[in-house]
């Protein structure tokens, strides 16, 4: 689109002549910046998306259901004991600089992560069970494991060119920008798109890799543009500056529906929100910490509170209906999700009955106390500063708890502060969210006993991942079992049992699975591929399916929004008219007002 925006000076003739052979660039508006192009350093979703364009990994995730699919590894097989995995690397993959990609590059990448420090940050969990990685010939990589693990089918590590990265030593890697002008030149991968231009804080531009081993994309390139204001991003979509707007919030999204030439799409997503209880904060060694209310250790109290929460109302009122009521900690779009047979319903009467029966009698002020009459049930709650959903969820919760004789105070804090509060156990309940990846291992690990808070030398306590302080030996045993189970059906069974254990003990109340809101111009590209099929997101997936498959809507459709120069004239006239009108009006006012004073 470069030539079309010279509207300030260049005449319309120049713009017209540029349009026939204009490049077909897919322009995506995003709100979150790429923090770092270096695949060992960046951590934002936008950074992961750029690596997905630039690099290939051994295996990928299917568009239909996230199941493992071959990418650079054409095929793989495991030994009977599951400890030796042999990957056959395709022989037609070539790096953007023309060097062929071989098994040597794969082994190099994995060994770099294995031996690395910085390199472990993003990919450590993939190699945790790997003993050694070796390229036995140009197309064969053999990995030896300490313990069998199903993660070997989901090795989402970007394969880097050895001939470039071997020039960057262990110290330099922390500061390597991986941009085209870096030394050695960055961005070289084997993926479907080639990094052309990186402007920190502004845009990243990619061209299509014409030598890609897979089917070469129809589009000529991709460009990410960063917007720090969602309003501005949506306006840019409306006026055709971008073709796609990612991660829009609900009010703006609602306003887009019915807009001409724009499809606003809400997709099922793997992010969800929850309410957690302080059911006994402690360090990993069992030392109790924090200020949790003793009543919350009682599963009956947690069940009663679960009955008091109306998730339909939360979805309706805090998400504008764009989501679904939650149950377990693996979201329903993954095959491993378990749906409880007998879900906890919204039933305040039942909640009151449970609490009465358990002996938490109401005091004179209507607030319940512990069965021995001590400790009125007054809970300290927290919500997240950066999330309105979080804040209104806690407000609703306070109202609902009042109905069942539980009083509360609530505070809004930053996520950083909430992380500290979680670690120190100085809360009774709070609202936060998770985003779950396709492999259930990580999400399930968050509820193991090992993930309690831990103390470092100077007495400071840090949060683990387990912010419900749920600890069950049987759950931990099942966690270990699923981590080494190579049969996917049996593993799913175990994962589902674990989710239901959590659900039945009311460790969390999963309030809602929220949708992902995206919008695109229907007059530009078509053929977006959802993941999972058919209701999933169409960009920012586990894979690059939409980028590979989209096509222009019609021949020369791009020229429709190519007329800033006539626009400039019309707009200038309009602007002048507005200014003139305003001036006349003000003059008229000031002329009238003295007379008014006289009369």
């Amino acid at each position: 689109m470069g030539a079309s925006l010279s509207g300030l000076g260049a005449g319309p003739v120049a713009a017209e002549s540029a349009s026939p052979d204009e490049e077909l660039i897919f322009r995506v508006g995003v709100l979150q910046d790429v923090d770092n192009l270096n695949p060992f350093k960046g951590i934002t979703a936008a950074a992961y998306e750029t690596w997905a364009l630039m690099y290939d990994s051994l295996t990928g995730y299917a568009a239909e259901d996230f199941s493992p699919v071959p990418r650079l590894a054409e095929s793989w097989e495991q030994s009977d004991d599951g400890l030796t995995w042999t990957y056959t690397i395709r022989d037609d993959a070539v790096f953007h600089d023309g060097e062929p990609l071989t098994a040597d590059d794969v082994a190099y990448t994995f060994n770099r992560v294995l031996d690395g420090k910085v390199e472990q940050t993003n990919y450590g969990s993939y190699v945790a069970q790997i003993e050694s990685v070796e390229a036995t010939d140009d197309t064969t990589v053999v990995m030896t494991l300490k313990k069998p693990t199903p993660i070997m089918e989901r090795l989402a590590v970007p394969i880097l060119p050895k001939h470039i990265w071997s020039k960057i030593d262990d110290d330099e890697v922390a500061e390597y920008t991986n941009e085209p002008d870096a030394d050695p030149p960055g961005g070289i991968g084997s993926g479907p798109f080639v990094l052309e231009e990186a402007r920190e804080g502004q845009f990243y531009r990619f061209s299509t890799n014409e030598d890609y081993w897979g089917e070469v994309p129809v589009i000529d390139g991709v460009e990410y543009r960063f917007y720090r204001s969602a309003d501005a991003m949506v306006q840019a979509l409306k006026n055709g500056e971008i073709d796609f707007a990612d991660d829009i919030d609900a009010p703006l999204f609602d306003a887009l529906e019915g807009e001409e030439d724009i499809e606003a799409r809400d997709s099922v997503y793997y992010g969800w929100n929850y309410l957690t209880f302080n059911s006994g904060a402690a360090l990993t060694d069992g030392t109790p910490i924090g200020t949790g209310h003793p009543s919350l250790k009682d599963p009956r109290v947690r069940l009663a509170i679960h009955h008091a929460v109306d998730k339909e109302v939360l979805v309706d009122r805090t998400l504008g209906g764009r989501g679904s009521p939650g149950t377990t900690i693996i979201p329903p779009l993954y095959p491993e999700h378990a749906e409880p047979a007998d879900p906890v319903t919204y039933d305040p009467a039942e909640a009151n009955r449970i609490l009465d029966e358990a002996g938490y009698a109401r005091g004179q002020d209507g607030i319940r106390t512990m069965p021995d009459g001590s400790n009125p049930l007054v809970y300290q709650m927290y919500s997240r500063q950066n999330s309105e959903t979080s804040q209104s969820t806690i407000q609703f919760l306070q109202g609902w708890l009042e109905e069942i004789g539980i009083d509360s105070t609530a505070e809004v804090v930053s996520e950083g502060r909430l992380y500290e509060i979680a670690g120190e156990g100085t809360f009774d309940m709070y609202e936060w969210g998770w985003v779950s990846e396709p492999d259930p291992d990580y999400q399930l690990s968050t509820m193991t006993c090992r993930q309690f808070s831990y103390e470092v030398a100077n007495g400071t306590v840090y949060a683990g991942l387990n912010d419900a302080f749920y600890c069950d030996q049987e759950y931990d045993r099942l966690y270990q079992q699923q981590a080494t189970e190579l049969d996917s059906e049996r593993r799913t069974e175990i994962a589902q049992r674990m989710q239901l254990m959590l659900y039945d003990s009311n460790a969390y109340i999963v309030t809602e699975y929220y949708n992902y809101l995206q919008a695109y111009r229907t007059d530009r590209f078509t053929g977006f591929v959802p993941q999972p099929d058919p209701d999933g997101a169409i960009l920012f997936q586990y894979g690059t399916y939409s980028y590979l498959n989209i096509e222009p809507v019609t021949e020369g459709a791009a020229s429709s929004d190519d007329g800033p120069s006539p626009g400039l004239i019309v707009g200038g006239v309009a602007g002048a008219a507005v200014v003139a009108g305003l001036t006349l009006w003000l003059v008229g006012r000031s002329r009238r007002s003295p007379h008014a004073d006289v009369e």
Partner: protein, 340 residues
Amino acid sequence: MAVDTATAVAASAAPRTGGLRRFVGYRLLSGLGTLVFVLLFNFFLFRMLPGDPAARYRAVKNISAADLARIRAELNAPLLQQFWDYLRDPLALNGISAWKGQPVWDLVGGRAWPTVVLLGASTVVSVLIGVWVGIKAGWNRGSRFDKVSTGVTLLFYATPEFWLGLLLIMCLSSGIGPFPGIFPSGGVIDSGIEPLSVDGALSVAEHTVLPATALGAVYLAEYSLIMRASMVDELGQEYLTTARAKGLMDHAVRRRHAVPNASLPTITLIFLNIGFIIGGAITVETVFSYPGLGLLTFEAVSEQDFVLMQALFLVFTGSVIAFNIVADIIIAVLDPRIRT
């Protein structure tokens, strides 16, 4: 004040140049002192910020507990040791941004030129128009021009920048009704264009029109109101009567006598503002996703990037101090009375 200041300047300037030199030297020295104080103050300021900078790593699913502990250990080093590290590199010359992983001065450098462009465009426009309107309105106090312009400028003065910015985007970027949008809604330059070329300059200009208008409107209003007030103050002065008595035409009285005297407060304000706008365009730059220093500040604070904040605050303090000194010197040159 009853003396014609122009002659006063002429009479006193020659023997007092030593005074000016001493004045400038004194101002530079005290500016340096302020800078040192701010450097020390900034250290404690950032460390008083609430929150946990390591919490951003919670999003990194694969970070090991040991790595997290290492990051935390750096953040939790004893304050004295951190202060020592800070003093060894107070300008953060070797600082690496925790958020972007790049040397902070590379980041700041890359973001400086858009801010300078934006600042330059908005200052030129707001000074030229604002001062002209202020002079005209003040000189003809009570005229229709005065009433209209005071009304309009008050309206601009009271308008929040971000709101004006959003309004501009909606009207001139998206287009209203049959009128197409004409300006881009964000960024500073299009991709695939070399900034130091004709196309690059045009692209930057196109991207700068709206943010510069939003930023300039507020300052324009400020300059015109201050200029008008100073003009009104001068209106009744006896030296103007004297000037008229000499037989000068009205516009000559205004240009040669009233305006030079009335412009001192505005000049001071303009230079003070330049110092502040360098860091103060945060809202406008955020609304227009304009990748300058203001937006970078917003990002540094939201990412809790201490080293980056340190470098940015240094730039801002430096610019405020520098332009203060410039303003002082210019005033001292224009008006010898204040060289003490």
